[in-house]
């Protein structure tokens, strides 16, 4: 990031945190780090919604954090991020609206996968030799208060990602009525049940390196004070034996930790032991960087992200392969769509971010064939909707799915309800991207990559696309005529194709 200040507020499940940092000549310095305890997770995981009292308390905290940001004249250089405590609350929209109306504060709610991805990027930047580690494969485990998210990464590709609902605070809340002596048993059975569904898949990757992150790590670090960034499974087993029969007060005093930390220690240790059993390695690494710091670095664009584009592309292609897509067609359509995007920039006036959405949609638009050729665009739609793409926010993921859905020129009325939650501006942007993808798709209608290249010429009433190929093409021309219609309607200009045989 350029020289200046940046701030992040992290609304976690058990506490609110504000970090303000300054960037000067490539160096980062933490200026403020504030923590206010408020367990939204207790509300959400117990009752399903955030109580009115907690909403007002959250407001007081955020107001103070806002005061603190004003003190440093942060302006707009900040992000407010919420995780599962808000995300899973039934009244999440009310919570978000309340803070927006009262404080003018827009809160970004992360999906577990976005959260995991940011942690991954953070860890990648934190561990000097992460790239070497990554080559052999790394499993990232984020044990937070609400969820346990697991991602398997190998060769810059996310091979697997999932988020399971057995975070330590959540377990604590689920079993809070149980007698203390039965809790450990209940935690273990619950976790085992959750893990059994994914155990086989994770084990099949045979990954040895495991990196843990999340608020749980801070508690373990306080207890063990490790000098390096790793702990051993036997440490956790030792801890388990020390605390399994003890009261919260005993645990708090024995390890000199806060009461709310002592409350979640038993379920947390159970989570660790159950997850660690999936791996052969006795040692596991952990990330020392706090989540607010990772968020700050990520949103201020301060992480080194030179490989991220490649990483995203690899992950998307990996997904395509998983669904047995026509890779050559996908790459051809992708390239054509991006070329058209650049050539027609003065017409569509979209930006870099939209280009990225188009690129992913172009690569994945036909994954629905995996289910059935008929209505494959609809299958592509729900497949893409179920994905968790790194760097891509939930809303953008939906737009990618919609682009794929609409790449076929048929439009049903039912589709309308799929995007009627979008703003007029977004719908317009969606249509522009769809119109480009349709033309690109038409250029490889036969899936044989017959067109070797194309150029675009503009005159007053039309756009002329000059197509060069070795042989006469027919299918592509017919298809283009049909598929260019949306573009012509949107921009009020005809698309005319010219063939040039080399």
């Amino acid at each position: 990031m350029k020289n200046g200040l940046f701030a992040v507020i992290n609304i976690g499940t058990s506490a609110f945190r504000l970090e303000i940092g300054s960037f000067l000549d490539g160096k980062y310095r933490q200026i403020e780090y504030l923590v206010k305890s408020l367990s939204l997770g207790k509300d959400t995981f117990s009752n399903g919604f955030i109580s009115s009292a907690s909403i007002h308390e959250a407001y007081d905290i955020l107001k103070k954090f806002q005061e603190k940001m004003n003190e440093y004249k942060i302006g707009k250089k900040f992000e407010v991020i919420a995780t599962s405590g808000v995300r899973e609350a039934k009244n999440r929209d009310f919570f978000l609206d309340f803070m927006d109306k009262k404080l003018g504060m827009k809160i970004r709610v992360l999906t577990p996968y976005e959260e995991l991805y940011i942690r991954y990027i953070g860890i990648k930047n934190e561990f000097e030799r992460f790239n070497i580690l990554e080559k052999g494969g790394v499993t990232l485990v984020n044990v937070s208060s609400g969820n346990v998210s697991i991602a398997v990464v190998k060769n810059k590709t996310i091979l697997y990602a999932d988020s399971l609902h057995f975070g330590s605070l959540r377990l604590n809340e689920i079993f809070k009525e149980l007698d203390e002596k039965n809790k450990v048993y209940a935690y273990n059975r619950y976790i085992e049940g959750m893990i059994s569904g994914v155990e086989y898949v994770i084990s099949s990757f045979k990954i040895k390196n495991v990196v843990f992150s999340g608020s749980s790590i801070n508690i373990l670090r306080e207890i063990f004070s490790p000098s390096n960034n790793y702990l051993a499974q036997k440490d956790i087993e030792f801890l388990f034996n020390e605390i399994k029969k003890e009261s919260i007060d005993f645990i708090r005093d024995r390890f000199a930790i806060r009461h709310n930390e002592a409350e979640v220690l038993k379920p947390m240790v159970c989570v660790y032991l159950n997850v660690l059993r999936l791996f052969e390695n006795d040692l596991f690494y952990f990330s020392k960087t706090t989540f607010p710091r990772k968020l700050l670095m990520y949103y201020s664009k301060s992480y080194k992200q030179k490989n991220l584009k490649e990483y995203l592309e690899k992950t998307v292609l990996n997904i395509g392969e998983k669904y047995n897509f026509d890779k050559r067609h996908a790459l051809y359509v992708r390239d054509s769509a991006l070329n058209l995007f650049d050539m027609l920039q003065n017409h569509h006036l979209l930006d870099k971010k939209h280009k990225q959405l188009l690129e992913i949609a172009a690569l994945l638009h036909d994954v629905g064939y995996f289910v059935n050729e008929e209505n494959h665009e609809e299958h592509s739609y729900y497949i893409i909707n179920s994905l968790h793409l790194p760097q891509i926010e939930e809303k953008d993921s939906r737009i990618i799915a919609l682009i794929a859905l609409l790449h076929k020129e048929k439009e049903r009325d039912v589709y309308l309800r799929l995007y009627n939650y979008l703003s007029q501006e977004d719908i317009f942007m969606l249509k522009k991207l769809v119109s480009l993808l349709r033309i690109a798709d038409a250029l490889d209608a036969s899936h044989k990559q017959l067109i070797k290249g194309f150029s675009v010429k503009f005159d007053k009433n039309s756009i002329k696309i000059k197509l060069s190929s070795n042989n006469f093409i027919f299918f592509e021309l017919v298809s283009l005529k049909k598929k260019a219609r949306l573009f012509e309607e949107l921009f009020g200009i005809k698309i005319e194709a010219e063939q040039e045989i080399e």
């Binding site: 200046g4 506490a15 300054s22 000067l24 933490q30 780090y33 103070k64 005061e67 003190e71 440093y72």
Partner: protein, 669 residues
Amino acid sequence: MSDKFLFINRELSWLDFNERVLELSKERRFPLMERLKFISIFSNNLDEFFMIRVAGVIDQIELGYDKKDRAGLTPKEVLHYIRKKVERLLKKQGKYFFLIKAQLKKHSVFIEDKFSECVSEFCELVFEQTILPAISPVTLSASNPFPFIYNKRSAFIVEMEKEGKEYVSVVIIPDKLKKIYVKDIGDKRYVFTLEHIVANKLNELFKNYKIKDYYIIRVTRDADLTIEEEGSEDLLLLVEQELDKRRKGQIVRVEINKKPSKKIEKLLMDNLKIEKKYIYETFDFIDLTSFFDFKVENKNLYFKPFKSYYPNRVKPDSSIFDYIKNNDILLYRPYNDFSFISKLVETAANDEMTLSIKMTIYRVNKDSSIVKNLIKAAENGKSVCVVIELKARFDEQMNVEWAKELENAGCIVTYGIPGLKVHTKNILITRNENGRIVEYSHIATGNYNEETAKIYTDLDYITAKEDIGIDNANIFNYLMGYTDYEKWRKIALAPNYLRKKLIKLIDNEIITAKTSAKGHIIIKVNSLIDEKLIEKLYEASQAGVKVDLIVRGVCGLKTDIKGVSENIRVVSIVGRFLEHPRVFYFYDNGNERVFISSADFMERNMDRRVESMIEIDEPVLKRRLFKLLKLHFNDNVNAWQLNGDKYKKIKAAGLRRVDSQAYYLEKKF
């Protein structure tokens, strides 16, 4: 170890300290008017002692608490010994006062009790024009009961007769009247107290009565505020309400100018609802606190003024921030000029790069230029945050006023943490210097009070060190409720951390002593009463650590106990200036660590206050502090040594005079 013999009772130790203050009024090396001031300070101290400490002991007795403390005394026994000591001290005070009064005559200053001809006209005028309109005698009868006497007010009890019938009248002296009246005739200054003027005019006040006798009494009440902060929505309002109660607390002492007759004694006991043991016999000058502000022209009767100076020729102008970035500053008040701090705040208030100024306020003076500069900063658009302690004893009212004024100016004002008094003294100036955020911290051992800064010695540490800046910022975040996060890099904060840190440092000396016989601790504090720390110091002494304690006031530790405190030496420096810095030295295997702090070694400081302690690690400043400690410990002019539980004045007796206070008046810190 039997506890009974290892501790000195806090109240009795405090009275010993006040006796040392009183002894300053006998010091021939001090000018007469300064000696008179010490008489007045002694009285003022005693007032506060009764209002708070004795009131506490009486509370315990009334609640039926009869357990022995660690000095082996029950509350009843403590009260008994307090009375015995106070009676002795009052006699001594009277003796010293009359001695000074007699000597002042040689300098044409006449503190009078009877009107001589030359001043009678003046006194009559004062009585008629100023006093008479303000007083209303109440002659006691069934329809005129004994009137309510507010805290620290004096009153006349006049026994009269008219037509063979006896009457008693009560004349309360109003608080708003001046206490001292001065008439200059030629080069002579005649001085009268308000009580003496009234006493001389009683016949006029009760024209139709025959005055048989009269007494002057002065009432002291329980003035400890009980503030239940839990659940209080508005602390400001609560403190204001409680302040009103202070003036009406239970009576804990009645001073009377002479031995009362049985009749008057009973009258007082019945009407003021006190026991006989609360009545203390003094003399006609019943309120010697009033002489604190009394002045004369003759400069020779005062200490020679001295010029305080800025350290290292540094000026607190716009260049100051660059200077601090490269050099830590240590001020030693009053030898160094405390206005430096106010100027620093003023510079920040007018400085474009300053983002925010934060400050804690425990005690500030009425016209504090520091606070005015904070207001100026807020008006200049800086973010100004003030943590003000509304419960600072006897300064509550002023702090309430400051809080309102600061809030009106747009400052963010908070009142600290419920249940804790904010006693730490910190300023934090944050600047954005072309993209680099730099924190300038000021951490002091004494209050931001420009008046007391002239007579209290204290240390002020100013630095731009990043670690300290972060800690300082976190102190404000913690105090202002911005964070629950408590992790400290360089500052040890009370409650929770300070005592633990001190115990760790002492333990470290114990280990050193056991292995190399070199452990050494020097502690300079105002009070040492925290039992855990005293026990730890005994343990250090037993392990062979050399423990040198410079404890100005209360000291609960006993020296010279065989097998317990043989390696501990305690001295108390009581001189022209009130010793106030808290400085701690630990040998630490030759690393020689020095700390300054806002905290005394008392339970209240360790457990119920927010206090800070910071290590000074700049070698030059460390050396200066070590020298300061050494000098104080070797003082043989202002020092008293504790032997067992008794203090004895140290005398130079043929040795080179070491006067730690005079030293810094002559030589630079």
